[in-house]
Assembly symmetry: C2
Homo-oligomer: 437 residues x 2
């Protein structure tokens, strides 16, 4: 971390604070990995005469994106199987591939590869759920990206663990081993109501309270999930989770495409955070999270890409656009999820979901210096009337030129500084040659 001040001048700073501000010709002053000051460019060099200086004169600087739901260990399965029904996709493609390939080195290489894609598209923090947690954590330490890593629990054996007990033990050992790292945060991640028993969920709830960890869970992703739950227990998943005291702001409820009135009452009462994954939900024909309805009920909504096996990219600009467009179609209201709201779902609201809004998610003095620069002077984003409109509705991720985490530049004029692209592509090719056969 630099102890000297560093000034980052920008055409626009878009703060993404509650009362979002668009500051023209302003600068961020960085010190010790944090945002030390936000002020007009013309004052910055006077006030900090010995600071180093960089100019982003045609760029918008926004907080780094927080991708609130990923399975990055699957990144080498991108495009392996598309356009299939969920059960065909899982049973005949994804689960067999996972059974054959998911091991420590596979997850490490896939994670590193995903991090390259994330950094190249402005994501500085992600919230993952997969296996071989330390492989992903090691990759994150190499890349310099911030990782929330879910202790996946599932009531059947995988290459990572054989019993529920083993998932929990390995997960807690992971938490103990990595809690010293600023960039790594463990969470619990019971997979779903149809793969984890209520008894296990209660145990997880206790452990999460004890260790002060967040709990991620896929909840009410599809109509099938609801129907199966009703057939087995006469209750919808949200009702069942509420009945065992599972739901609270500690919970990050992922997908939530199916919401009825009783669900809404329970959600309003218990206030879990919601992660909306519009592209994955569309691609798997799962449904559409009723964002407007949930927002009106006071719930916080973050944004995630899900895995590249069901998206097929980790592009948060694309995901913001899809979230904005889908909300309008779904609600019949073109004012639903405007460009600024979409940007907040990808930044501050992601930080809130992960419980880290005190230090992340906006350009605020005292918060971590995690931010990105987007070049808006290209043909595709001109002429420009409103920078946020251009970012959400017109820009492509390739226009993200620079990315910083804790004040350290991880993408510099489109070049990764901590990762070797050629090496990563060679690894991807190596695994692809194995997997395709």
């Amino acid at each position: 971390m630099q102890s000297q001040e560093q000034i980052i001048h920008a055409k626009w700073l878009i703060t993404c604070e509650e009362d979002n501000k668009i500051l023209e010709n302003h600068a961020l002053v960085l010190k010790n990995g944090k945002i030390h000051a936000v002020l007009p460019s013309k004052n910055a060099s006077i006030q900090y005469p010995s600071a180093t200086t960089s100019h982003y004169s045609q760029h918008a600087i926004v907080p780094g994106f927080i991708n609130s739901h990923t399975h990055i260990g699957m990144n080498f399965f991108r495009g392996l199987a598309d356009d299939l029904t969920l059960m065909d996709w899982l049973n005949n493609h994804i689960w067999p591939a996972e059974k054959q390939w998911v091991q420590q080195d596979f997850v490490h290489d896939a994670s590193l590869f995903a991090m390259a894609e994330m950094l190249r598209s402005g994501t500085t923090c992600f919230n993952d759920m997969y296996f071989f947690l330390d492989a992903t954590a090691q990759a994150a330490l190499t890349a310099g990206i911030r990782a929330h890593i879910g202790i996946t629990v599932i009531d059947f054996p995988t290459a990572w663990a054989s019993t529920t007990q083993e998932y929990l033990e390995k997960g807690l050992a992971f938490h103990e081993a990595y809690k010293k790292y600023d960039n790594i945060t463990a969470t619990f991640a019971p997979h779903a109501i149809y793969t984890v028993s209520e008894k296990t969920l209660s145990t997880i709830k206790e452990l999460a309270d004890q260790h002060q960890l967040k709990i991620n869970m896929h909840i009410q992703e599809s109509r099938d999930e609801i129907e199966q739950s009703l057939a087995q227990t006469k209750k919808r998943p949200i009702r069942r989770l509420h009945d065992i005291g599972f739901l609270s702001p500690q919970v990050i409820a992922i997908h939530m495409t199916q919401i009825d009135d009783e669900d809404l009452t329970i959600l309003q009462h218990t206030q879990p955070h919601i992660v909306h994954c519009p592209e994955s939900n569309m691609k798997l024909a799962s449904g559409a999270c009723p964002v407007m309805q949930l927002q009106a009920a006071g719930l916080n909504i973050a944004l995630g890409t899900d895995s590249v096996a069901s998206n097929n990219n980790l592009d948060m600009i694309g995901e913001m656009r899809s979230a904005a467009l889908l909300a309008k179609l779904q609600s019949g209201n073109p004012k639903a999820v405007d460009a600024e709201q979409a940007l907040k779902m990808a930044t501050l609201q992601g930080a809130k979901a992960l419980g880290i809004e005190q230090m992340f998610g906006s350009l605020t003095v005292g918060k971590a210096a995690d931010f990105i620069a987007i070049d808006l002077a290209q043909i595709e984003t001109q002429p420009l009337y409103h920078p946020i409109s251009q970012i959400v509705y017109a820009a492509s991720r390739h226009q993200i030129t620079d990315v910083w985490v804790a004040g350290k530049q991880l993408l510099k004029n489109r070049q990764l500084t901590t990762l070797d692209e050629t090496e990563l592509l060679n690894k991807a090719h190596f695994w692809r040659e194995k997997i395709k056969n």
Copy 2:
């Protein structure tokens, strides 16, 4: 046009013919602006020893995209007003801006700017509907792109024409003046049933028959359009158009988000071509064209972006992705509009809609050499199992490196060859400074 043969080697040729083929390590041989041969790379240099040679060893080559619905004269209104209801957007933003700014030089500059964006994202042919047709045509001749230019007709005055008669006269004069150019094709473009009388539509139908021109029209774009028509005439627009003998394969029916059983019967009987604009329809909360249902009824469906005022981009890769994702959500079937179908909607099916499939829309010997190269060796599209999946679900338009029209390279390693980017950006800035005030 070159008379010498030219060999374009590619990692993959994706033909987009009816029985689409993915040819690995194959080459296109070009001659006189056409595809002269398609053959394995290893044979190409032997059979054509004096040909010039280019290698695209990590690229997929596909037919140039056909953007089947645009209003490119609006390109300087990108992001001027978003997230508004249709009537607020039209009455308080778009129509006042058009009234104030739309003139010959404005449309010329905006068209040229749009063509730069289109060429940079792989579009080699577009089907437009706007005013000052010769301004757009002149821009197309400069850019080298293929333009289908709609003779807009609307029963009220604009800066382009004062009376219905004047729209038609100017339009036919345009057709006469430009029919000598290979790259320019006139069409009729009555705006919509709520802005053009049935009498005018009948006149247009007669003129279109006489001059053998296609007819573009916005049809059943939104629920409001249906309700207004029912209130005024007790008939839905499609019924009204059918009753005056308007519908046939000559007609390009744009949007079509609202379809009931009677509509479907009429459409099946009359077989107009359909242009699906998923992003514009979502952004304006108009609805979703029932693509699967229309396809099942034997209708041909093309893809369009609509204008950047309601999209806000001319990105056909993004539009294919949105079409594929939306169809799955809408139908509840994850197999709906697979990646290959989406790619065909953007190529061969576009050519069919425009009535030019004999010469365009696929990599077929004898057709025009209009094609693009997409670099799939980047982090975002690796590892690669199926090139079409990567193009539709993972690639960004910036991965389109090279674009040819009639065998002439209009984009070369991301650089435009016929247009000056700096000059275009200066023009955009010039107009923006006027418009914003």
